[in-house]
């Protein structure tokens, strides 16, 4: 067994005729923080959604924490319980309070006693500094608070890997920082993270390496400093010049 917690080999994915991922090879070691960037439609989201099989890949091999993703539903659920995910649109469950949002999966998926699950949920909410919102419903929270609640919800499953799919893209500018702060704290605590984002400040601060994607391919992967200091690929240079 390799020491890489995520191992992707020659992964390809089609939506109808459109090829969203082309022969992706990717290894992520434990505790590594990787930022994925690239123009829209380049396959970033599809890539990370394949890691917990929200999208099925059609070719290649994905192994997460020693479990290969296949048709086997048991495996998939096992992987999903170990991989937390945070979405652009938060996707909190609107019919449940923030506390219940967080405690739901530990209780029903991990069979944790209710009291224990709620205590843990409160602990996670405290870490993202919205303990005082625990009894409220998602619709009563601001975007930034909702996204932090979503992070807490994912963390309640005690995941080994966290995936972030453009976590700040749907937020008002003044709320981006509070979410990024929560993510930075998480990174400092040693979580393995894959983050799709356009926040280059965040990337510089926490990422070990950066992946640049275009047209379904990984165009460039480099350690953070090198990536920003001297990008090798022309498309990377163009992209960086546009967003920096």
């Amino acid at each position: 067994m390799s020491k890489n917690i995520i191992q992707m080999e020659k992964v390809s994915k089609w939506f109808g005729d459109f090829q969203a991922l082309k022969d992706i090879d990717l290894e992520v070691a434990q505790k590594q923080k990787i930022v994925v960037c690239g123009p829209s439609g380049s396959g970033k989201s599809t890539l990370i959604r394949c890691i917990n099989r929200l999208e099925e890949h059609q070719k290649g091999k994905i192994v997460v924490d020693g479990i290969e993703l296949s048709e086997n539903t048991k495996n998939i659920e096992q992987v999903r319980a170990e991989v937390g995910m945070v979405f652009q649109q938060f996707n909190l469950f609107p019919h449940l309070s923030i506390l219940d949002n967080c405690a739901l999966a530990p209780i029903w998926v991990k069979k944790m006693p209710k009291r224990e699950a709620e205590e843990m949920a409160l602990g996670q909410l405290e870490k993202v500094q919205i303990l005082d919102q625990a009894k409220k419903f998602p619709g009563q929270l601001s975007g930034g608070q909702q996204q932090r609640a979503a992070i807490a919800r994912a963390l309640c499953m005690k995941p080994k890997i966290m995936l972030f799919d453009e976590p700040t893209s749907a937020l008002d500018p003044e709320m981006i920082k509070e979410v990024l702060d929560a993510m930075v704290n998480l990174a400092k605590a040693g979580m393995t993270m894959i983050v799709v984002t356009h926040e280059m400040g965040f990337a510089k601060e926490v990422a070990d390496s950066i992946i640049f994607m275009d047209e379904g391919m990984i165009v460039e992967r480099a350690p953070t400093k090198e990536f920003f200091a001297n990008p090798k690929n022309d498309r990377t240079k163009l992209f960086l010049s546009q967003i920096l």
Partner: protein, 421 residues
């Protein structure tokens, strides 16, 4: 036309004290004219030529409302009236017509229903012709409620319904922790207790044939059982129709489209006449059961489509989020998707439930007599011929009360589960 009306100038705030009295006077004149005309047969405007005097109340009322139509009059009530029912000439005419129709119809209706109606007595002879004969309902009341159920055993029906109501009311007042168990008891245990109590045949209870059941209690029995059963079946069908497994999907589609495409009356006939022919010899199924099952399956198909509407309204993100937390198909649906989808379609579910309750009189065609069926039977009784109207009005009022309360209940649920803000 406008010029003539404008003899006094355009109604304005400055001449408030001139226009308002004139307006009120003309408007009242119109109302009085209609009232006298339609209720007392007196025509105070008979000096006008025929044809014109037919329209006089409308003209008086129209002029009155025209003079009252003062913008920003300063009088709060007048402003409110003007905005809501007198904003232009077309609306003022509609307002007048509606008021006139009410004046013409409500007093005679009240007369028939209450003032001239007969309440005291025991036979048909105690009834006068001018009003409703509620004695008919009074005498037949036990039959309309209990059908042909033996008098000595009526306490069994009463007890079971009192128990049902007590349990449902208790649902609102007991702590949340116990609620779960009460709901499970209500859905999975209580129907059998209730059924056994009414049906009898054991525990020392006399057996009462289902054909003797009837009246409003039968309406309730059929409704309650069909409601309880059609809901889960509809839910499974809705999920089945959205399943990715072709067998499940096409089976669900086939089932739903079959039952939605057939009239209920046909279904009931089939259940009562055709179905027993397909049963093997010696197997007998009570007619009431067959009818309840038929209604259940019929309404389940509608329920399925209502619930499917709710499922489709949910964003994909909810599925993604639930899956990403490691939930499988059932946990995902039971914990995340269905609670939200059902909440969204409470009005649609209430609709289906109301339709179900109001469909129950159709069982008349297979010889089961619930409320409307009993009224049909009563009105053809030789001693009580000629009271069909009273009977149907009574049934209408009862059904309205039942359905209105169900509708209020569904509104309360909607309010209760509103968590988006």
């Amino acid at each position: 036309m406008i010029k003539i009306i404008n003899l006094l100038g355009t109604p304005s705030r400055e001449k408030f004290s001139l226009f308002v009295p004139i307006g009120i006077f003309l408007f009242s004149l119109g109302l009085i004219d209609v009232t006298l005309n339609s209720l007392f047969d007196v025509n105070i405007t008979s000096f006008f030529p025929r044809g014109l005097n037919y329209f006089t109340p409308l003209i008086f009322g129209f002029l009155g409302l025209y003079y009252l139509r003062i913008e920003f009059s300063g009088n709060k009530m007048l402003d409110k009236l003007n905005i809501n029912i007198n904003s232009n000439w077309f609306n003022s005419i509609l307002t007048l017509l509606i008021i006139f129709v009410l004046i013409q119809n409500i007093p005679p209706l009240l007369n028939w229903l209450i003032i001239d109606a007969n309440f005291v007595g025991t036979t048909k002879k105690d009834c006068s012709d001018s009003g409703a004969c509620w004695i008919f309902i009074k005498i037949w009341f036990p039959r309309l409620m209990y059908g042909l159920y033996p008098n000595a055993e009526l306490w069994r029906i009463n007890t079971s319904f009192i128990m049902l109501i007590t349990l449902v009311v208790a649902l609102f007042y007991i702590p949340i922790k116990l609620k779960k168990y009460l709901i499970i008891f209500l859905i999975f245990v209580f129907p059998f207790i209730m059924f056994n109590l009414i049906h009898g045949g054991n525990f020392g209870l006399v057996w009462v044939e289902t054909t003797a059941w009837g009246g409003l209690s039968l309406t309730f029995i059929i409704s309650v059982f069909a409601l309880l059963l059609c809901f889960p079946i509809g839910m499974f069908l809705a999920l089945g129709r959205r399943s990715s497994a072709p067998v499940t999907r096409y089976a669900s589609i086939g089932f739903i489209e079959f039952w939605r495409g057939v009239p209920l009356i046909t279904v009931l006939f089939m259940a009562s006449v055709m179905f027993p022919m397909f049963l093997p010899d010696g197997v007998y199924m009570d007619k009431l059961f067959r009818v309840i099952i038929a209604i259940t399956l019929f309404e389940a198909a509608y329920m399925a489509e209502v619930i499917r509407g709710g499922l489709q309204a949910l964003p994909r993100g909810q599925y993604d989020a639930a899956k990403s937390l490691g939930m499988g198909y059932w946990r995902l649906h039971l914990l995340v998707i269905l609670p939200q989808a059902l909440k969204l379609v409470i009005p649609g579910i209430a609709n289906t439930f109301l339709a179900l309750v109001k469909d129950t009189p159709l069982i008349l065609v297979v010889g089961l007599l619930e409320l409307v069926g009993m009224i049909d039977m009563a009105k053809t009784n030789p001693d009580w011929l000629g009271f069909a109207t009273e009977g149907y009005v009574f049934a209408g009022i009862l059904f309205w009360i039942i359905c209105f309360n169900m509708s209020r209940y569904s509104q309360r649920l909607e309010e209760k589960y509103k968590t988006d803000r």
